[in-house]
Subunit: 385 residues, 4 copies
């Protein structure tokens, strides 16, 4: 098997806030100095990344004046040009400043909502845009009428969609669900809740999802199932890859360093399921690490992805796997339940479907999933390639 090396064709991207995280946590001070975004661009390019993303405040510190703003942007643009890195996604920080303590779109305070919408409008351009509503939520059910909050959430997104349409930006929005942290409960806590909400929007065709591995796993949910449902609805606009060890604080581990079996099936689905967007890593280099270690951990994300991609391809290509899939009747699920042209009345008239169906015999059939699951494990472990 070839040694995999990341190239721009892999569409790997990183947030500036990931490699640039100074490693302050709720119980500890920063262990790393600030990272110059220009250095981040150069280092990521050297490692084989394709894109870089950022919140407005990552690039231009909150409160900068016009001149400072220009200088920051100019230097950054030059670094992009020098390295060929693209900016496939942008986002706005509506969670760090105290003014957003109760949310942005759904803050009880109307002036805060208006300010938040304006802060977002300023950032909108030609890229795709992620919205993580990390402060849209509550610690007590007394504080927020969730139905009314969803009205405001919808109002905010409808307004922004109209703005983008009227301006002709050709932009798509991606909502990022998360169940909790930093709020006790966050609105639109899972892939499912966000999908349902999006369906209610004025221009739902412009809005999709940016699911994150760890966010679904914080609720004990199967991330691969969530991504499959998002794809089924045509709503996987972007994805945040990282690692997590189940329901606990948001860990943002290196991709694959949490539940690596789930990561294997995720890569399999992304590579074979028609997703063509960025493979965006939203991880945190552990607080134990120094500035050089940051790049070791950044590279680990891409390398693990590529190793899993090799293994998933070998899994799909293995004739024994294909036989086990057939034995488990996996392909039969693609055959509609009704025959072509069949209606309910035909089904009702089919005695073989019910009256003459030998339910006891059918009840004895095994699914042979254990064999299939073991084949997957052995491909994951590189034991069959």
């Amino acid at each position: 098997m070839d040694e995999p090396r990341p190239t721009p064709e892999d569409k790997f991207s990183f947030g500036l806030w990931t490699v640039g995280w100074p490693a302050r946590d709720p119980f500890g001070d920063a262990t790393r100095p600030p990272l110059d975004p220009v250095e981040a661009v150069h280092r990521l390019a050297e490692l084989g990344a394709w894109g870089v993303t950022f919140h407005d405040d990552d690039l231009v510190p909150f409160g900068s004046d016009g001149d400072q703003r220009e200088r920051h942007i100019k230097r950054f643009r030059e670094a992009l040009e020098a390295t060929g890195l693209v900016v496939p996604m942008a986002t706005t920080n509506t969670f760090t400043h105290p003014v957003f303590r109760d949310g942005a779109f759904t803050a009880n305070d109307r002036d805060v909502r208006r300010y938040a919408v304006r802060k977002i409008m300023r950032k909108l351009g030609a890229a795709s845009y992620v919205f993580w509503g990390g402060r849209e939520g509550a610690e007590t059910d007394a504080a927020k009428d969730v139905r009314v909050a969803l009205d405001r959430y919808k109002e905010g997104l409808d307004l922004l969609c109209q703005y983008v349409l009227d301006r002709g930006y050709g932009l798509r929005f991606a909502v990022e669900p998360k169940p909790n942290e930093p709020r006790g409960d966050i609105l639109l806590p899972t892939v499912g809740h966000a999908l349902a909400f999006i369906g209610s929007l004025e221009h739902s065709e412009m809005v999709g999802l940016n699911p994150e591995v760890g966010h679904e796993q914080m609720a004990g949910l199967n991330f691969v199932h969530g991504i499959a449902q998002a794809l089924w609805h045509g709503k996987l606009f972007h994805i945040d890859l990282n690692g997590q060890h189940g329901p606990k604080y948001d860990q943002d581990l290196v991709f694959g360093h949490g539940d690596v079996k789930s990561a294997f099936f995720l890569v399999d689905l992304l590579e074979h399921g028609g997703y063509e967007g960025p493979r965006h890593f939203d991880f945190k280099p552990p607080r134990t690490e120094d500035p050089d270690d940051v790049w070791v951990s950044a590279a680990a994300n891409m390398r693990t992805y590529l190793l899993l991609k090799q293994r998933a391809a070998a899994f799909r290509a293995d004739p024994e796997v294909q036989a086990a899939m057939a034995a488990a009747r996996v392909p039969e699920l693609a055959v509609p339940t009704l025959a072509e042209g069949e209606r309910w009345s035909d089904l009702l008239a089919d005695r073989g479907a019910f009256e003459d169906f030998d339910v006891e015999a059918a009840g004895r059939r095994g699914m042979h999933y254990a064999a299939l699951d073991q084949l997957a494990i052995e491909h994951l472990l590189g034991a069959r390639s």
Copy 2:
């Protein structure tokens, strides 16, 4: 405060499988004998219940012949007439028999899917109908292409909706989400995933939700938020009330015996949020209990609901609570972010919204939620009534 007693006006209903659970669990044999459904009807009526619900196999044992079936139904109907209990909901068991080991709508085996649809069609009548797809899922991601499974799920529900429409049954379906158990991962794991899926159906107006307290809490999700979102989408068709202590096995405790603060806010929302359907208890009398204890635990569900209803009403009526709500700007969230007739261009032109907005001053405002939360706790504890 008056001593609350359940009456039919409270619309309390119970599944036959709840009080009739013989208390067999994965590690233990049954501790109670089978319960005659006719006795269940009489005992529930005496306790003040309004309705009773059942799976097809609860009333007529699986495999009964036509005569036996008739006898079972006749006795049951007589008990209903004698007591005045109604049957506000019905459902079909597509999870107990081995034939459903891999699901009903989404079994890999097509003949099992056809059989399942027919078993459901047989049961459909004039009531509302709940579908819990407890076996629609997988233990390994290799076993099931979730996107294809959702195709089959949709096909099954579309077919049943068409059948109901063509027959003129006037029936509504309610999908019951659950994250896991008995499958490792169940499709449509939360209120959100099910809402999104419903939006994709041919006749989505006929299909809503039957959320269950414990099912959402098994994923660590806020049930009150989930119900609020379901109401917001107009999809709360039915509800299953019980108790759970967070992410662990499905406990089906008495309502209020798990997270009682959440139960308080839930009752508040149901009573003030426009829900007019049954208050359906889907609990299990603990395995420690004997046949008489079953009725103690059944009564406990209703009594706890009524006590919480009293406390929620007192909370809403308390002038100090109303003042605390105002201080927390809870009512302000109902004021749209844009003024009447305002468009994005107006907002963009409003310097007060952004350029002249004193973000630092606004960032110092407190939300005063602690006072509000404490008032809720004190009403819950009956300390302010």
Copy 3:
């Protein structure tokens, strides 16, 4: 029922770091200015608190010189004298500074371990001393040989115990378990693991526990059971009271604002189970709140405790509860399994115990726990007082 008001007899204490938390979280900047420890002492005294606790760095900022140190301590001592507040516990911060990124007692770096022990030695005086080893842990199992880490942990505590003995300080240590956050996994993750570890120490009689409500509930464990086991081992030296909603990030909610039913049984156990130490609140005023709200939330802890204490007393005194306890044979558990003087050979010879025991009849006995649990809920709701 009388309106409860906190008094020094209630032994309520607060950490300076609780009311003084500036509300910086992993995703947001501080929303409140620093709080002067002297103001904290005065405000807590006015609210009825009895004690105040602190880490070394809470009172004297890390890196202060000798003069600054003196001034800080002098002002604080004067506030204590003016208010009568006591300092029943002290602790050392071995987690905030980057030097402790990999732990204190169990850092791989030996010089860091030596520094940590010295930092702790400096703080030891006449009070009881809590040790929270929040950085003793790992994100990857490759990073730390846990057996060797426990050797070092034991070495550190043995050394400190010897120091305290030799100095004649009359001091006791209390270890505070936590499963994770800020480390991926923390050593001694639960009450149980810490109890077992303490049993291995040279002077285990000097070392007990400081369990925290939320820390056990982050692992889905029953806190009341944990406290009961700690009491059973004679090791409940101190306690941290707060609230949490199950497995997620560390919430540090107001006491009783998480699982209030568990809080009811906890207060019942503390009040009737022989614990005479401080009722120490280790909570965080929510980040949504302003400096005045801080004191509202501080007061809420004490008031909720007192309301629960009233309800627990009424529960124990209620004749109906006592009858339900008897029906559930709760008192019978206190009767030893063997009769006085009985040995295994006597039990073996007792045919009534086995050969003639009617196991089927005994298997039909109900425990009547549902009635008891409902009585507890009704006392909690203030519905029977």
Copy 4:
């Protein structure tokens, strides 16, 4: 790399109740017929297993008379002799029958406790003996005084130890912790709680642990850490290997089919940490599977263990891993914090340890764990062998 095949030297053992599980779950009927224990012995031997274990009732159905009992035992003994399989552990079922609904050692009913002790005494012989107190617990904190329950638990184990000593059986007990299911909360919920409890026993040297992968992971705890602590206390007497996906119902997946990265580190620890006991699989062949699939899943446990053992050996042998361990100062943790002969007074006098320690410089040191963790992942994936 050689293809690994299980041999008796690997000490793989299985419970009769694992391969013999008829696949009845809380929501479904059995999907497989009963398995003859004699067939189980032969099939396991063919697959390369070394031992078989059982509860009393697995081999001899509850309530069998003396003759039946003899016949069952005779046939089973013959199968053992024919195959060479050993019985390295035995256990007693004190959880299935309704009589144990409230526990065995800690049932409120004294006669049930006496019966349980007698049922266990009957089974004790020359093997090691596991006690899983699956019914020792409660659903409500009102039902059980945990301190008194621990008195009874201790009384029961003290009695059994004395019995074994007096009889000269040379037997050791292993307690199996579990946090919940089938009880709402089980006593001794984790490795830690059980270790602490064991320390309080009259003959604690005779009692150790039988930890199970899934049981600790149901509480979100790091199983490798738990096993390391058990080894540190000299208490790893037996181990139950299987798989689990975090906090949810007890899944009993094939070993390695849950968190496979944790399984890798577990095998590494067992193989290099001095554990010489059985590698006992306590898994359930999924309910989807038929009788032939049972053996596929049984074999998968052993094969996955052996693959992980190969990878762990390669990880330890890799010079790059050894260099990364050194860079992360993992070996330095084995160096005591005090020098040989050093006392606290020497440490106090060492200005280099504190006064002259450059804490800021030390705070900048990185731990280089990311590199080490990535090497572990790559060995797990078979990408470096």
